[in-house]
């Protein structure tokens, strides 16, 4: 079985609201695919349709080449963390994993293994109701890993984790991908995926915006801009503008130049005897690149909760 998730032409509406619209992408094995979009973009809806929980209005979602509902022992094919809060508060952590293991005929020793793996072994006999959000995330990840599946899907796994937890989960995701598994991780913050994701699927308002590698996305967002620091800002700006560049003042002593390579900028300034202390090729952050992409598609401006369905 191929370790993949294939989404083809997926569409889902709730009343008159189109949650997911003609969405297609593939999650390939051996890498971490970031699934990014603003709140309400349709990430969770897509994941629920992959799991067969919600029925799509159109399109298909296949896991390892077949619909989730047709997979014989589902937990051994796809592990998913959808909602860390979806645990009965009165049930002990170990018991939560135990019923899940029984459901797919998995041995009880596997429960202890995954508890150890996510660092919850010492609180295994505590009731989940007393868990912090971070501990619940770890419990949810343990549940996803229970069947040792080749495909994993995590919805906002970083939420609620402390810095140590964030470092841990990044390491875990890299390691799981390194083992050849296909990993889909959603986030509404692109920065969370920096250094973790190899591939990005960006959506906004249910539609695909970008399906690209991280490297390509950064290159496209960075453009050929040069950042210049100078004590004679107006002099530098007029010289460079006369040479055909587009110049913008970004700070008291800082200018962004586009249309001229950095070597030529240095040559021009030296020739005119203008002082400068720094000339650097601009490198966009993943967050900037993402803002650029989704500028028009932000569903809820301001501080929106993760209120998507």
């Amino acid at each position: 079985m191929d370790a993949t998730i294939e989404v083809r032409g997926l569409r889902k509406t709730y009343g008159s609201v189109v949650a997911v619209d003609e969405l297609s992408f593939t999650v390939a094995p051996g890498q971490v695919t970031g699934f990014v979009g603003p709140n309400g973009a349709g990430k969770s809806t897509t994941m629920r349709m992959v799991l067969g929980l919600d029925a799509p209005d159109a399109g298909t979602a296949l896991v390892g080449g077949r619909p989730y509902r047709d997979i014989p022992v589902p937990l051994t094919a796809l592990g998913a963390l959808l909602d860390a809060g979806a645990v009965h508060p009165g049930r002990r952590a170990r018991d939560h994993l135990l019923w899940l293991a029984h459901y797919n005929g998995l041995p009880a020793r596997r429960v202890d293994e995954v508890l150890e793996l996510v660092g919850l072994a010492t609180v295994a006999r505590r009731r989940a109701g007393g868990f912090s959000l971070g501990m619940r995330q770890r419990l949810g990840i343990a549940a996803a890993l229970l069947g040792d599946p080749p495909v994993l899907m995590f919805d906002e796994p970083v939420n609620g984790l402390d810095p140590e937890g964030i470092v841990w989960i990044r390491g875990l995701l890299r390691r799981l991908a390194g083992e050849g598994r296909a990993i889909l991780v959603s986030s509404h913050l692109m920065g969370e995926l920096e250094g973790t994701a190899d591939h990005l699927v960006v959506i906004g308002r249910g539609r695909l915006i970008a399906d690209t590698t991280v490297r390509e996305l950064l290159a496209a967002a960075s453009g050929d801009r040069v950042v210049l620091r100078t004590s004679d800002r107006s002099g530098a700006m007029s010289v460079l503008a006369n040479a055909g560049a587009t110049v913008a003042a970004t700070d008291r002593d800082r200018v962004t130049v586009s249309g001229l390579p950095s070597e030529q900028v240095v040559a021009l300034l030296t020739q005119q005897g203008l002082p400068f202390s720094e000339v650097a090729a601009h490198r966009a952050s993943l967050e900037e690149a993402y803002m650029e992409l989704t500028r028009d598609t932000v569903e809820f401006s301001g501080a929106g909760q993760e209120g998507e369905r």
Partner: protein
Amino acid sequence: MTGRDGFTQVLRGELTKLVTVRSTVWCVLATIGLTVLLTTLATSVGSTNANEGPRFVDEFHFVHQPLTGDGTVTAHVVSQERSQEWAKAGIMIKAGAANGAPYAAIMVTPDHGVRLQSTFDTDISGNGGTVPRWLRLTRTGASVAGFESTDGNSWRQVGTVNVGALPASAEAGLFVSSPPKIETVKTNGGNETRGSATQGAAVFDNVSGTSLTPGRWTDDTVRPPGGDPLANEGRSAEEAGRFTVVGSGDVAGYGIASWQPPGNDDIVANSLGGVQVGLMAVVALGVLFGTSEFKTGTIRTTFAASPRRTRVLVAKALVLGGSVFLAGLFASVIAFLIGQRNMRRHGYEPPAYPYVSLTDGPALRAIIGSALFLAVLAVFSLGIGTIRRRTVGAIVVVLALVVVPQILAPVMSLNAEVWINRLTPVAGLAIQRTTERFDDAIAPWAGLAVLAAYAAVAFGFALWQLRKRDA
């Protein structure tokens, strides 16, 4: 990693879910505790004096002659008025015409066939037929044999009874009785039993027997000292060997089917009365077992682990129903034993109340039936919980259907009460009944079937909805 996801795995997973949450375990324990506790309390009060009341009734009209030593009496019952299902017309050999004197009699009844009865405690069934019928009694010492025939030629022996205290010179002849009609009506705050006398009549011919002399008949209306307002005076008339006998009352006692004992409490049902309180914990359990999945969101984890939703809900119902059945069976057995012991201490003893053991058919049916009632009610609650998805709302709906009718019914008219006990889920409690009462609304298994129908509809709708909706 290899696993399995058959139905057995889902069952095991659901069982693990049930036993690993304190609230559900508490509900199971509360079911047992409430049932046993309430039965214990209810049977610790209340008593009966049924055994201090009369132990037999001896009221009828007797047309007789002396019969000395061994001998035979034969008569043909031509017709019998259908005054009561237990009206009796036949021949009798009795120590004397005094109330309570030992006797042996063979008779026809409108609804219960031919009977050979003696000494207020022995009752042998003959054929199921009615009039016209030939009857015969043959006395040999203390033993009296009863025969019946349809044509007067070929005779069938119904049985032989022993009447120890029958003197050498006894009285033999024709008798007719017809028990009073007892009606119970609802009054404000209780029931009132009213009786009225009925009058039976039968026609005999071909009356013959050892040493019987035509024209020497004596008429006696047998009555207790002081008489009985529920039995009229009898009479007889003879015309050319054809006798018309009119009589009122009954000849019966403990051991005879027509006997109306002074106490009619259902000691089996009473000892299982705690179930009516224990069921509240079952409703809470059934509802919670469904709604908690939606409230906590684990329903998605469940369906991710087993996308076959029908299988999941069926497994849930089986695990829930099975657990409640076992808890209910345990509670019912304990409640029954405690209840029987308590009631014996308060006068519920033979002969008015024969001892009932766990393994007696009706008691066993009531005990196992109580456990079934709770199990089916749990599945009904699960169905409503799955449909409503909100704990409080679902509990209110189920309790409104199960408890409110029980509170309202006693203050309504008898007719309304009967229909409530027939059409609401409470009908299932009929399975606990082991005696017949005037206000019986529905037969035991039919009552349980009413509840099962409620459960089936709720469960079916829940299933349909669960398959259709997004999780």
